[in-house]
């Protein structure tokens, strides 16, 4: 279990770095659907794998952010600076 959590930790850091980089570009180019997909996927993995490893707070928080990004992905919400911040 400890080794699993260690793998998750490394994975989450990697995904957070990717998330940050993607969001910065997305702020400049809010219509980039591939990028929106990448952001969603990173959030989805942080949430799903976090829940599997027993990190419930991370899963709950990420679930809320993911829900908002799902709206963006389905073009029901636009990317704004407030959202990215």
């Amino acid at each position: 279990m400890e080794s699993l959590r260690e793998t998750y930790r490394a994975e989450a850091y990697e995904l957070l770095a990717e998330l940050e980089a993607s969001l910065l570009v997305l702020e400049e180019d809010p219509g980039d659907t591939e990028l929106i997909g990448r952001v969603f996927r990173a959030l989805h993995t942080i949430k799903g794998s976090g829940a599997m490893c027993g990190f419930d707070d991370i899963a709950t928080f990420t679930h809320d952010v993911e829900t908002v990004f799902d709206l963006v992905r389905n073009e029901k919400l636009g990317v704004t600076k407030t959202l990215v911040d």
């Binding site: 080794s3 699993l4 994975e11 996927r41 989805h44 799903g48 829940a51 599997m52 490893c53």
Partner: protein, 121 residues
Amino acid sequence: MSKIIMAVDDSASMRQMVSFTLKQAGYQVVEAADGRDALSKLDGSGVHMILTDLNMPNVDGIELIRRLRANPSCRFIPIVMLTTESQPEKKQEGKTTGATGWIVKPFKPEQLLAVVKKVLG
């Protein structure tokens, strides 16, 4: 001879958890990081069952199921999707595409084993 199961997920921690659980129970495991990786590793691997995540880069889970079901040699391999509660429509799409069943994340190791045993008999 033990049965071979392919675990497809872009999350390394998920693969580790699934793989560890199945190996402990005596199964052989082939890991793949996404649908494309899965398709490239499948030929001649003798896989008896596939467990796949849905949201993955390159070839996602739904597309993987579609391609496998279009391939005569993979048409009858049981495919179980690993989904989250936030994806009810994906679950339905997967079923329509030809998935055998699904497990909702987060799941416990014993739940995974119960499904695998039920599917593989």
